[in-house]
């Protein structure tokens, strides 16, 4: 029996059911269930968010100046982006402009996150989907060296370097204790890299693990620590002093030099290691340009980010594009507004929450969340031992956000296609260069491979933006402007009795929005709609499927009991479940009704 969804996908849940729980190498807890046909092609996919924390309920009645710290703890991987979104929402509500330097430093913080997060995703969350660690033991170190030198001028490329690494890896494997590589899908027929490419990739996996900790030191300079640096409503907390008494107690020349040197090293690592690796790996997996597209060729959503000038959040002032693309029509970019009640709405028909009228979606300003963990009649197992979920009923802790009723994909691919469609040269030129290098058409972008490539391009883009923002900060300082915070409206007595505002950003995983209502100096309501809620969304009342579910359809699996192909596509989205499943409205109650029918 097949079902055609309103958004044009055909689902057939009749074949063998494959369950992957936990999905690993992601943030948080996700379960996937798919049905495969007799040829092991995925014909139905079910994305189940399996955790819920209730942070927005916890935010009620708090001081809005503290909200950034709470919301930052939504996610420690995309650390900072929720905090940034939160201070923007509170500043929007209270009408607080920030100094130019504060805007620049926030852009530096955000670009640092992008540079770090995408690098870590590629090597430590995604690479093992493409790289067979055990195959690396069979590589010829001389040939590996030759391969590495043909791709890049990165100096760690001698035969001896790869030989030593291979020896260390061999001893590690021979110990019988494989640690994080234990029970991996080594030898799976879907692995295509030759041993030499695998050895080179393992070397870079380890190098990237050591290098990533350098990038975040920029957060540490301006925010005091990473993960979870500090932020401030009205600006940034790090005062700057480069030439007078006490400069050593503030951000001074030595600190700025440190930031500058890290930026240069990050650009070097990305351009000499990450991008060449990405292209090399992609060249062996061009078939992945035909799978994993899902919503990508149809519906894409971006809020935009990186305001070039302070206090102007209009699309023209943003380095990241804003807009919506519907039905794959790249010639028409729709305007996006977080405050328009008709645009963004969340549905709960298939989510473990309850609305008074579940046929209707609610805009985040009016959001309600009341947990309602109910399993459908076709569930196999029992409440505390679910063996097969019933997607005909409620089946996820993620809500289903929709833009004007459409399920949307968000994230690096959405941003790159949006920038490409808008004809922005900083998106179009590198994208065209990669397509040309791989010898694939522009349509190849709408795929697992395209998503992974877009993330790499974005990492390179962000590292260069980082340098640009740093230079801008230095230019402003040279012009004599050292201001980093506006404390005029710091005291709650200066606030209106009631106010509301929205803040947005592009998290590495996609469009992120916070909506805050303030009454008598306290938070009256706080809502977040986050990227993984869009991408990992369950079905809506009309039966439209979300991006994860759509992307898995049509993918052939070599061996459904070793679900490497599913991991490839799901990891290409870089899931973050702690982000997506924290939603709790002001009227939320602890009265989950649980029954298994």
């Amino acid at each position: 029996m097949t079902i055609t969804t309103p958004n044009g996908f055909t689902l057939d849940p009749s074949g063998k059911r494959v369950v992957i729980d936990p999905v690993t190498r992601i943030e948080g807890h996700l379960r996937l269930e798919v049905n495969v046909d007799s040829a092991n092609v995925i014909r139905n996919a079910v994305s189940v968010g399996t955790m819920w924390r209730g942070l927005e309920m916890i935010l009620k009645d708090r001081d809005p100046r503290d909200a950034w710290a709470f919301t930052q703890r939504i996610c420690g991987v995309c650390t900072g982006t929720h905090a940034l979104t939160s201070v923007r929402a509170v500043e929007a509500a209270l009408g607080i402009p920030i100094p130019e330097n504060a805007n620049t430093i926030r852009n530096i913080m955000q670009a640092t996150l992008y540079t770090h997060d995408h690098l870590v995703h590629f090597y430590h969350l995604h690479a093992l989907d493409w790289v067979d660690v055990l195959s690396a033991l069979k590589a010829d170190p001389n040939a590996t060296s030759a391969l590495a030198r043909s791709l890049s001028s990165w100096p760690l490329s001698s035969p001896g370097y790869f030989k030593d690494l291979q020896l260390r890896l061999t001893r590690f494997v021979e110990s019988g204790q494989l640690g994080p590589f234990k029970n991996g899908y080594w030898g799976h027929p879907a692995y295509k890299l030759p041993p030499e490419a695998n050895l080179m990739a393992v070397a870079h996996y380890l190098e990237a693990l050591t290098f990533q900790k350098e990038i975040v030191k920029i957060h540490t300079v301006f925010g005091g620590k990473n993960p979870h640096p500090n932020w401030l409503v009205g600006g940034v907390p790090s005062a700057i002093n480069v030439d007078s008494v006490g400069a050593v107690g503030a951000v001074n020349m030595e600190r700025l030099d440190l930031v500058s040197s890290i930026i240069d090293r990050a650009i070097e690592f990305i351009e000499q290691v990450y991008i060449p690796d990405l292209l090399a790996v992609a060249s062996f997996y061009k078939d992945w340009a035909q799978w994993g597209g899902g919503l990508a060729g149809r519906n894409l959503l971006c809020y935009g980010d990186f305001p070039e000038k302070a206090n102007d959040y209009g699309a023209d002032n943003l380095a990241f594009p804003r807009g919506a693309i519907i039905d794959g029509n790249l010639n028409e970019i729709h305007q996006v507004s977080l405050d328009d009640p008709d645009q963004i709405r969340e549905f709960v028909t298939h989510s473990w929450y309850k609305y008074p009228d579940e046929g209707k979606g609610l805009h985040p300003y009016d959001g309600i969340t009341e947990p309602n963990f109910v399993l459908g009649p076709a569930t196999e197992g029992k409440k505390t031992d679910i063996r097969r979920i019933d997607e005909g009923a409620k089946y996820s802790y993620l809500k289903a956000p929709r833009w004007r009723g459409h399920a949307m994909e968000v994230g690096p691919l959405a941003r790159w296609v949006m920038g490409y469609a808008q004809g922005r040269p900083d998106y179009k030129e590198p994208t065209d260069a990669v397509l040309k290098k791989l010898g694939v058409p522009v349509g190849a972008l709408f795929s697992t491979l395209g998503r992974t490539a877009a993330r790499g391009l974005e990492c390179q883009w962000s590292a260069h933006k980082l340098k640009g923002y740093f230079n801008k900060l230095m230019a402003t300082l040279k012009a004599g402007d050292f201001a980093t915070a506006n404390a005029d409206k710091w005291e709650p007595a200066s606030w209106p009795r009631a106010a509301r505002g929205s803040g947005f950003s592009e998290a590495p995983r996609g469009a992120l929005g916070h909506w805050v209502q303030i009454a008598d100096g306290r938070i009256a309501n706080y809502q977040c709609v986050v990227p993984t809620t869009w991408n990992g969304s369950p079905r809506d009342p009309q039966g439209n499927i979300g991006a994860y579910e759509a992307a898995l359809l049509g993918t052939p699996m070599a061996d459904p009991s070793r679900p490497l192909e599913i991991l490839r596509t799901i990891h290409s989205f870089d899931p973050c479940l702690a982000c997506s499943t924290h939603i709790m409205g002001p009227d939320g109650q602890e009265k989950a009704v649980v029954r298994v029918l």
């Binding site: 399996t50 924390r53 209730g54 019988g176 030191k217 005091g224 993960p227 005062a239 505390t384």
Partner: protein, 362 residues
């Protein structure tokens, strides 16, 4: 081969004995141990197999894992390849689904009493534990199973140690720290949101090296990292003592690096190593970058805010008037110093009282 020692592994991996000894020296230094301890560490590495570690994730944000991989000494690649056997960690492991689940069972069965469970996040107990589901079952069930035959449990971060943000009022999911669920195993709490990277790897190095858990305080935290307040070793302490405070964000005093006490800094009541070990290879810590400490390693810190209200609002603290006076007049006289130190004693008294209350409750 499964019982190869660290030393064997290092040597087989082509690392010289000289390098190994250097590593041991650095480890000793990072733990604040005398140079003689380096030999003890080297001895330990030569004779011990890698301990399997099951790193479980409950309700959390993964900041602890992210912090862990920031460790500068030892590097995480060396921790994972040469010190422990990190057989299960959802965040980085290659396997997923059944292949991942099978590992927990295998380690629990094979290494009875000889493995460590590291917990990031905590189990929610409301809704039969089904606010955090792993493998179709409540996380709390898997936590209990994995801990059953563990040698020890490490509670990473404030979630596992104290409950942290999801346990803040009104704690909708009944998120519960690990020690309230696992009651029959030694538990090392490493609080912080997240903990400092080198504190995390330092705890592991210590356990491996000395074959014992570090000495813990009454709350279960390693004394070596959590026995002093941020304030005790803060580089801005002199400004506190001199009555020099930041009065407003980005004011002249902020640009001189004065004390953040009036901006709500919780350094005086927070026990952690931030002002000594520092963050991210010691680059900075919150106060050094201009923001007060929010007390993220203290139990219930989310409910002790707002973060920007100064500690004097805590009942029984009582030095607000003195600090205000000092700040306004920039007085540096003996009277002011005496007043400030009076305040400090009050902090200590408060701390002691809190501790006593906790002990009595516990």
């Amino acid at each position: 081969m499964g019982d190869a020692t660290f030393y064997d592994l290092f040597r087989r991996q082509g690392i010289s004995r000289r390098s190994i000894l250097k590593f041991c020296g650095l480890t000793a230094a990072s733990l604040g141990l005398p140079p003689a301890a380096a030999a003890q560490i080297a001895q330990a590495l030569e004779t011990k197999p890698r301990i399997p570690v099951l790193w479980l994730h409950g309700l959390e944000c993964t900041c602890c894992s992210e912090s862990f991989i920031r460790s500068g000494h030892p590097l995480v690649k060396d921790v994972v390849l040469s010190m422990i056997s990190l057989d299960y960690d959802d965040t980085i492991m290659a396997a997923a689904g059944h292949q991942a689940e099978a590992i927990i069972e295998e380690i629990v069965e094979t290494y009875k009493g000889r493995y460590i469970v590291a917990v990031e996040g905590n189990p929610p107990l409301a809704n039969d534990g089904m606010y955090c589901i792993v493998g179709g079952k409540p996380f709390v069930e898997r936590l209990r199973y994995a801990c059953r035959d563990a040698q020890a449990v490490i509670a990473w971060g404030s979630c596992a140690s104290n409950g942290c943000v999801q346990a803040a009022r009104p704690n909708p999911t009944q998120a519960t720290p690990v020690h309230k669920v696992i009651t029959d195993k030694p538990i090392v709490k490493v609080p912080g949101c997240p903990p400092i990277a080198e504190v995390m790897t330092g705890v592991i190095s210590y356990i491996l090296t000395f074959e014992r858990l570090p000495e813990l305080d009454r709350q279960g935290r390693p004394m070596m990292f959590y026995s002093q307040r941020i304030h005790d070793k803060c580089y801005r302490r002199a400004h506190f003592d001199a009555g020099q405070y930041v009065e407003k964000w980005d004011d002249e005093n902020a640009r001189k690096g004065f004390c953040l006490y009036k901006m709500g800094c919780k350094g005086p009541t927070t026990y952690n190593a931030c002002s000594t070990v520092g963050w991210n290879d010691g680059i900075s810590f919150p106060i050094k970058s201009g923001h007060g400490c929010i007390g993220c390693s203290e139990e219930g810190f989310w409910d002790k805010g707002p973060f920007y209200s100064r500690l004097t609002q805590v009942a029984g603290f009582g030095i607000e008037a003195n600090a205000d006076t000092i700040g306004r007049t920039a007085a540096t006289g003996a009277l002011a110093v005496a007043a400030v130190h009076g305040g400090l004693s009050a902090v200590k008294r408060l701390r002691d009282t809190r501790q006593r209350d906790k002990d009595e409750q516990g």
